[in-house]
Amino acid sequence: MKLRKREHGAKAIRVISLPALCFFAMAARAAWADGPEATPSIFAPASTPASNILDLSWFVLAITGGIFVSVGGLLAYAVIRYRARATDDDSEPPQIYGSTQVELAWTVIPILIVVVLFLTTARIIFAIQDAPKPQVALDVTVVGHQYWWEFRYPKLGIVTANELHVPVSTRLEPKPTFLHLLSADVDHSFWVPQLAGKTDLIPNHPNDTWIDPYHTGVYVGQCAQFCGVEHAKMLLRVYVDTPEEFDAWVKQQQRPGEQDASVAAGRHVFETEACTNCHRITGTAAAGTFGPDLTHLASRTTIASGAARNTAENLHAWIEDPDHFKPGALMPAMQLNEEQINELVAYLNTLH
């Protein structure tokens, strides 16, 4: 009887451990891929703050892992070794009330571990948070809005939304980007895991953070502080460009809005309907600030803060009914007729 129970146990362990192993392998594979990718893993850093944090993480993981193995091992050993057996008599085991030496030991050892962990952590806090800003740094002001991101480049005179462009920063030519974080309404949080830890955007409480991405590509992230109905679709894309690409992008963004006579009808719709209350297009009468700047909308990959790709059909669907992609987005359905929407989409598509 007893034997059968044991066999049962061993089988159960095999049954459980195999899928568990596969699962950890799968998770590890996803976590350790390198470079820009769709999965914003904190184990695939591409910027100094993120990689400093990862190094510290490994150190902390090693220490906590060691504690887990030793204490967990003791616990498992005690549970197995001191289980009641069928052969036991009815007597109680020896009663032990405590031991000053042992208790002293397991108080002092954790204290030492805490000292080591604290000093290591403090060093990284100061290194990242108090890093001096070099002269060459690019300044960007990030303004969080209910459910989209506004990016302002004060020295370059650029205003854009949801897709941040920054130059790559190499060891030979460091070009970090310093972000000044503001909020227009409620709390938000700027988090692109591969580039840096998150920092909150809080009204009346300006914050700063910095990134210096050393691989080009697109890095994704999203708002990490619950900010209302569409918090889930307040997505972020950071484009890390080569210096040449970045310069070209800057030049393009500094131009006023495209004036294409063939889409004058659409432009007329834009300027005469309520669009102008919220959106701005330089070179037109539209100067609203409540919604994203649309001067170079067509140069962006996505619309609605990453909720949909920037295609003519999606733009059409978005203008007709924003709830289609983002139920609860603050942009109202504008009640335009089919012809007006088509003209509008044609116009917006020319805004490179």
Binding site: A38, I42, S57, L74, G197
Partner: protein, 564 residues
Amino acid sequence: MADQTLPIAGTVDVTPPRRSTAMLLEWLHGWVVTVDHKRLGILYLVYGIFFLLVAGAEAIAIRIQLAWPGMHFLSPELYNEMFTMHGTTMVFLVGMTIIFGFANYLVPLMIGARDMAFPRLNAFSFWMTAFGGLLIYYSFIGGFGLYGMGAAPDVGWWAYAPLTAKAFSPGHATDYWALALIVAGFGTLGTAINVIATTLSMRCRGMTLLRMPLFVWLMLVTSGLTLITITPLTAAQIMLVIDRYLGGHFFDTQAGGSAVVWMHFFWIFGHPEVYVLVMPAFGIASEIIPVFSRKAIFGYPAMVAASVGIAFVSLGVWAHHMFTVGMTSVGNAFFVLSTMLVGIPTGIKIFNWVATIWGGKIRFATPMLFCLGFLFQFLIAGLTGIMLSVAPWNWQLHNSYFVIAHFHYVLVGAIVFNVFAGIYYWYPKVTGRMLSETLGKWHFWLFFIGFHVTFDTMHFVGFLGMPRSIYTYEPDRGWNHLNFIISMGGMIQAIAVLIFAWNLVHSYLKGKKAGNDPWDAWTLEWAVPSPPPVYNFAADPVVHSRRPLWDLKHPEDPDWKYEA
């Protein structure tokens, strides 16, 4: 198993219990007007278990919505209401009521008293808490008031300003949240005062402070902590209501108020609150682990000191919830250190529990299984807590699923596991009948497996950058399979909890008779009949050690010879 022949001189009443002949209304009336600590304890527990099922159902709704990207099971609005209500319910209507249910029922019995110090305050406190719960759930009907249909609060259980301002949360949902918690909070304060007064002034002869069962010690520390922490929460909520109705600007950033001040108020409550919930769970484990290991608790004085130490340090760690809000580097470093310090007394506790098991004869009854699950999970929860206390790493992990995993390891892996252990352990005392061990083992193993499938996986999806509070996620992020696994684990836990609920009902009607002392235990509550008579002890008991029933069972080797 039970030894019925061990009365502490005169404590056991031999009069047979009187069959009640009351009509239904009289019976109901009896429960409503009761000031008996045992009945109020049962009311607290039944109320807590009811809301455990409600908030569990909300969790399942959340997990169905997240099982696959782009699901349309819940609308974004409803999803936000669900996670707000899940958190609020679990903390205030489940956690707080269940721990005070245990305290109410057990503290007087364990210290040889006939009731709590203030029985009427006790009844008042329960009904305040109960009305708080009803009020917040009424928001599902009345939340938008004249604006139209009802809506529950949808601002997160942390309710960060300025999302709670009138401009961003019109209607009355947020008002229900604030008012309900103020009402329930007064009930909580009343019970905390009651527990402190009871333990300090109602102990039987011979029960010195250092002979109190650890459960009573931990409830004393918890109640003291409750008094300190509920107060700033209540103050903050009153300020919020003033902002919303009287034109105050405490947290209204558009008029120059401060969002960060709300965070400080909330977390000076919120972090110690975690210890308010977990320390009674420690108390439960400190009663059950010795009994089922057949050994005295190892290092009792150190356990008491560690409890007081944790309570003290926990008051200075709140801003570790705020590493990302832009504190100075020195401020961040301070809260890293204070948070890591919590690990020392907590470590002492874990070591002492392991040392209690060491050299024992462990009986794997259901209460012990849950306690062992607790020990294992609490070890991990503590270690992920250390990871989160490392501020730079916290900048990555904060508000990600890693945090969700960590605090569910504490709240479910530690607290709920011990609450289940406590219910399996004391149900025989409360009802006179044993819970089914077969169903109990099914409950334990399913819940244990479901727990690990869900919450172990959440750590990884957090590493992969998934933030909390999102009603859906992009399909190309690499989170799909992991979320599906998490949701499946949730279903397994739900099945386990349903088995538990069935066990509660079934065993109440058909369970094996328990007798006074079914577990061969050592504290005073096992010296009286199950269920205990209204007056608990026919005569005041006298104790000479921490384990009065051990002394009686082993007159040749009593505890008082060894205790310092």
